[in-house]
Symmetry: C2
Subunit: 256 residues, 2 copies
């Protein structure tokens, strides 16, 4: 049974891509076969996994509009058991194009239903918006993982996001559930971080993972080498936190 | 002559809202009469200026679809000479609604042309995407201000952004010009920050402001008090950098 997890937050820069790339890599390291779908026109997850040449690539755009099967848009990465459906150049025009297409929110779902290859986890890295790309991800997914930066503005958008997840469950995808909230870029020297973290834990209780990801410059350096942090510097605090998060998710699924 | 400046970067979390709020406030402090238009459905600039009640508000959405004149959607803020056109709740649905409207990219331009009140500066805080909201801002604006976080992923999107600005100038708004690039969240302890800053200055030379904004936790704390950093803590490094940036922009316009 494949777990399809959409990584979503309309607030920008909260660690969606970093969480998707490092979590998928950590789960592959323990032998799970995973697919990462880059659904963000910026293509950061594609670069973060070392795939530099985005011009020639057939990827998530072509799959979304039904031009190419999912099978033919998936490539291996440098990491064993981790596959990638990259973001291709035309993804930036997809949102406008999709509006006038019939069943515009189901393109990804239809493509993934036809995918015969079996994966343990499929992660979808979403752009910072609640538009048609993110909607496609939410309709195709079983679970939503929400990275939440420990800062004030990031907190503001959380209720809107949880409301949107509820709407999608009601109108499009009855099986959609919140997998959990991951606190990111936690800075233990800042009272703001502690305040936001406490606030979120108080309101959302067990929906918030125990593991929180510290702010750690090695995590931000890794993409410039085309590697996930857990490959670039496994021993650093950020990587260790992502390994810990992977364990927490596996035990949540009853697999540990 | 009003300067209309769109603050744009499709990469999320790079400091668009923080730059818009603090720059507009710093320019108001020296007597310029300014308007801040919150064009981001998250409404962070609206909250950052202390306007908490977003449910009841008439704002940029109603102006964009022509339901309300710009005049009637502008309110005073706690800061003298600074006015706000807030983000209202329905803005999150605007991108999908706009697609099928005639002259969908000119809604804001048309509304601002009818605005009789005169402002020295109009700042438009944009969402983290290059969709129809940002397009409306680019068509209405004279200049584009690009906040750029000193990190690898933020660098990746710059060429796509500069290309988009060129396309808008060619197809929609011949007067659109790059006002400048502001380096944000610069951390002088991190070699990554220094590397990215040097890279950008080397390629874009005088288009990059001399002033760079340091990472400074007081800047991130200010919005939780509904105040710009320059009001919350004028003496902190972040605020001083925004004051410096305001001076640099005034001298660029020949006003200092
Ligand atoms: N734990 C961390 N410590 C330090 N830096 C981090 C951490 N996590 C992410 N970053 C950095 O913060 C920036 C934002 O992270 P990232 O790009 O993953 O967020 P995002 O939510 O995917 O952004 P977008 O909304 O643009 O898609 C990046 O430059 C990234 O390298
Ligand atoms: N100089 C700074 N020092 C420390 N924190 C900062 C600084 N500038 C911005 N921040 C914080 O970083 C986060 C991102 O900034 P901000 O929300 O202004 O970016 P944005 O580009 O507007 O994001 P979005 O793409 O979601 O609109 C916020 O929590 C903000 O408070
Ligand atoms: Mg991302
Ligand atoms: Mg913003």
């Amino acid at each position: 049974m494949t777990n399809i997890i959409a990584v979503v937050n309309q607030k920008g820069g909260v660690g969606k891509t970093t969480t998707t790339v490092n979590l998928a890599t950590a789960l592959s390291a323990v032998g799970k076969k995973n697919l990462l779908i880059d659904f963000d026109p910026q293509g950061n997850a594609t670069t973060g996994l070392g795939v530099m040449e985005k011009e020639t690539v057939v990827g998530s755009y072509e799959v979304l509009i039904g031009k190419v099967s999912a099978e033919n848009a998936i490539q291996k990465t440098a990491i064993p058991h981790l596959y990638l459906m990259p973001a291709s150049l035309h993804l930036s025009g997809a949102e406008v194009e999709l509006v006038t297409m019939p069943s515009r929110e189901r393109g990804l779902l239809i493509a993934l239903e036809k995918l015969s290859a079996s994966f343990d986890y499929i992660f979808i890295d979403c752009p910072p918006s609640l538009g048609l790309l993110t909607l496609n991800a939410l309709v195709a997914a079983d679970k939503v993982l929400v990275p939440l930066q420990c800062e004030f503005y990031a907190l503001e958008g959380l209720s809107q996001l949880l409301y949107t997840i509820g709407q999608v469950r009601k109108n499009f995808n009855p099986r959609l559930d919140l997998q959990g909230i991951v606190l990111t870029m936690f800075d233990n020297r800042s009272s703001l971080s502690t305040q936001v973290a406490n606030d979120v834990r108080q309101h959302l209780k067990e929906k918030v993972y125990k593991t929180q990801i510290p702010r750690n410059v090695r995590v931000a350096e890794a993409p410039s080498f085309g590697k996930p942090a857990v490959v670039y510097d496994l021993k650093c605090q950020g990587s260790q936190a992502y390994i810990q998060l992977a364990k927490e998710i596996l035990s949540q699924e009853g697999e540990l």
